[in-house]
């Protein structure tokens, strides 16, 4: 187990390097010159001389590879640079906004789990009934409605008539509810359908009949024996969903004016604020790979038949 963990952590290094390099290249390839944008923002005339000065100040001289290596060297020492626009340290800015994003992600996750479990279990217990069809319809809606549209719908039809629900910024449950719902609803769709089919399959297995033959309560048969087995394939997908969750926060934060890192990233992209974009990508990728590592380890506890680290040394 220790060996496995060490291996997996070592693999993270090339993965993170790749993420940083690709992000760096993509920013480089997008049209728009950060120096020019800064000059325009500060009402300084865009002359070749001014551009050259600005470029030098931003550390934008030299070939891409050399700049990337410079950035990497500083990042390795914990210095992610300073935002072009605010002038603040990137790490500090990200850490200040991270709690808000994590709050939103947690809210979305809770909504997702609640919806997915209830819709999936109900649909599996009453297959081909009205309940199943309703669950299917809900899942279809969740999967096909883009979150920015869903967010606007929720604002129009829930928040406007309700005196309680808030649609702008941070501040307790009344603020968190709608963004979480927007984020969780779309993600829940896949899980509800997956859980339904996985649970239906497990319910056919002999050990479920054996559990019933031992006189166990139906709640125990479903909630413990069936669900535990049915959840194993879903956990695999969960690692991937974390990506959706983090990406989803970017859109939802925009719709609900949520002051998280997603909004910071969007603003940074508009401003060609390269250090912030790089920092954001680094953080999100790190969270993503760590969650996936945790998912892989949790397998072992969900399904004792899986032995970690035997074949996965590569």
């Amino acid at each position: 187990m220790k060996r496995y963990l060490l291996n997996r952590l070592l693999i993270l290094i090339p993965v993170m390097l790749g993420v940083c390099f690709i992000t760096f290249l993509m920013v480089e390839l997008t049209p728009g010159d950060p120096a020019e944008i800064i000059l325009l923002k500060r009402d300084i005339g865009v002359t070749p001389e001014a551009l050259a000065v600005a470029r030098r100040q931003l550390g934008m001289e030299g070939p891409v590879l050399q700049r990337f290596i410079n950035w990497l060297g500083r990042a390795a020492r914990g210095d992610l640079g300073y935002s072009y626009t605010s002038g603040e340290a990137v790490a500090k800015e990200i850490f200040r906004r991270l709690p808000a994003t994590l709050e939103l992600a947690a809210g979305g996750l809770l909504v997702m789990l609640f919806l997915a479990l209830s819709l999936g279990i109900l649909a599996a217990l009453f297959p081909r009934t009205a309940i199943d069809h309703l669950s299917r319809l809900t899942a279809l809606l969740g999967a096909s409605l883009p979150s920015f549209y869903l967010g606007l719908l929720l604002i129009c039809y829930l928040a406007v008539p309700s005196p309680y629900l808030q649609v702008m910024g941070l501040g307790g449950l009344s603020h968190l509810l709608l963004p979480s719902l927007t984020l969780g609803f779309g993600l829940a769709a896949v899980y509800a359908r997956l859980l339904r089919s996985s649970l239906l399959e497990v319910l056919q297995l002999d050990f479920i009949r054996a559990a019933r033959a031992r006189g166990l309560r139906e709640a125990v048969v479903i909630g413990k024996h069936a669900l535990r087995n049915a959840l194993i394939p879903l956990v695999t997908v969960f690692g991937i969903t974390v990506g959706g969750l983090l990406g989803g926060t970017v859109v939802v934060e925009q719709v609900f004016a949520w002051p998280g890192v997603g909004r910071l990233a969007v603003q940074a992209i508009f401003d060609r604020d390269i250090p912030v974009i790089q920092g954001y990508a680094l953080f999100m990728a790190l969270i993503y790979v760590l969650v996936n590592l945790a998912v892989d380890i949790s397998y072992r506890y969900l399904d004792p038949r899986i032995k970690l680290g035997r074949k996965e040394t590569g």
Partner: protein, 334 residues
């Protein structure tokens, strides 16, 4: 020794309402189980053996439905019990062992905790006591209790798993143990061991065993009585020696001739013809299209199960009309 009837099944019928039509998987089956005795229910696959087992516990999967009859455990008709009361019977009064020993256990939960869970469902004991009971039961079937308790089912061998399944089924000292093809997934040496284990448990504990099998040799090693089932009906039943020694029904006869242990010295003869489709059972006696001794009346109505000699009963026109004499002569000879 006076026999004590534990379970009395009368006219049990179970059918499946499929899109293609109604399948009468079990069609008016009656038998009794006596304490400390073993009844073997013998038949080809698809004859309705397993559905009978599941019907006794009221665990027939949808779209199956028990359509009639009685299943009396002592004086209580299980088919009339409310669902919650039926649950207290399952595992506690009547237990089931499955064909695939892996199927009896949840693959992701340790063997021990599945014992404890079952015991705690039925008995008001502490977890520690349940644990102690589990150890005793596992030791009782010849397993290293400590090791098996903490194992997951996949970590045990097939034989150990089936032993553990027997221990689990007997954990609460049920009055009836139903073993549905308990040995057909095991290799031959293990088959004998497991049968031996069942026999030993039957001698040492107070319960009755319903052994469901297609294996005539297995039935003959352990059963006291046999019932031969064909297309959802019992065609012949009685004490083992009488049914296997002097089979009356042509189907029983054909089954015995097709088996190496009983057709000794002779060429083995398979039962001619295919098993009937459960959707389109032949009219009259369901066996008549394959029967070498068919009479004209066999196509009209199914024969009744009638007494031959003592407890030995058979459902066949040839026997019912012509065979009366032959009992007479046999009786004289005996």
């Amino acid at each position: 020794m006076p026999q004590r009837t534990v379970l009395h099944v009368k006219g049990l019928s179970t059918s499946f309402n499929t899109p293609e039509g109604i399948v009468r998987a079990v069609d008016g089956i009656s038998f009794t189980l006596q304490q400390n005795r073993c009844l073997a229910l013998i038949g080809e696959s698809g004859a309705g053996k397993s559905v009978t087992a599941l019907s006794l516990l009221r665990l027939v999967p949808v779209p199956g439905k028990i359509t009639g009859g009685q299943v009396c455990l002592e004086d209580c008709d299980l088919l009339k019990l409310p669902t919650a009361a039926m649950r207290t019977i399952r595992g506690k009064e009547m237990a089931l062992i499955f064909q695939d020993p892996l199927a009896s256990f949840n693959p992701v939960i340790t063997v021990g905790s599945q014992f404890v869970e079952t015991i705690l469902t039925h008995e008001p004991v502490s977890k520690a006591t349940a644990r102690k009971m589990t150890f005793a039961k596992l030791t009782g079937v010849g397993l290293p209790a400590e090791q098996v308790y903490h194992s997951y089912p996949f970590q045990l061998s097939g034989g150990m798993r089936q032993r553990a399944a027997i221990a689990l089924a007997l954990a609460l000292q049920p009055r009836v143990l139903i073993a549905d093809e308990p040995i057909s997934f095991l290799d031959v040496t293990l088959q004998l061991q497991i049968l031996g284990e069942l026999k030993r448990q039957l001698e040492e504990n107070r319960f009755t065993l319903l052994l469901i099998t297609h294996d005539l040799a297995a039935a003959s090693t352990i059963a006291d009585d046999v019932a031969v089932i064909y297309a959802g009906r019992i065609v012949e039943q009685g004490p083992l020696q009488q049914v296997f020694g002097r089979p009356k029904h042509p189907y029983t006869n054909a089954l015995l001739r097709s088996h190496p242990s009983f057709g000794r010295g002779r060429r083995l003869e398979p039962v001619e013809g295919p098993s009937p489709s459960p959707l389109h059972l032949p009219a009259g006696c369901a066996f008549h299209p394959r029967c070498p001794e068919m009479l004209p009346c066999c196509c009209n109505a199914a024969p009744e199960l009638l007494g031959a000699a003592g407890e030995h009963r058979v459902a066949c026109y040839r026997f019912n009309t012509l065979g009366i004499k032959s009992i007479g002569t046999e009786a004289v000879r005996a």
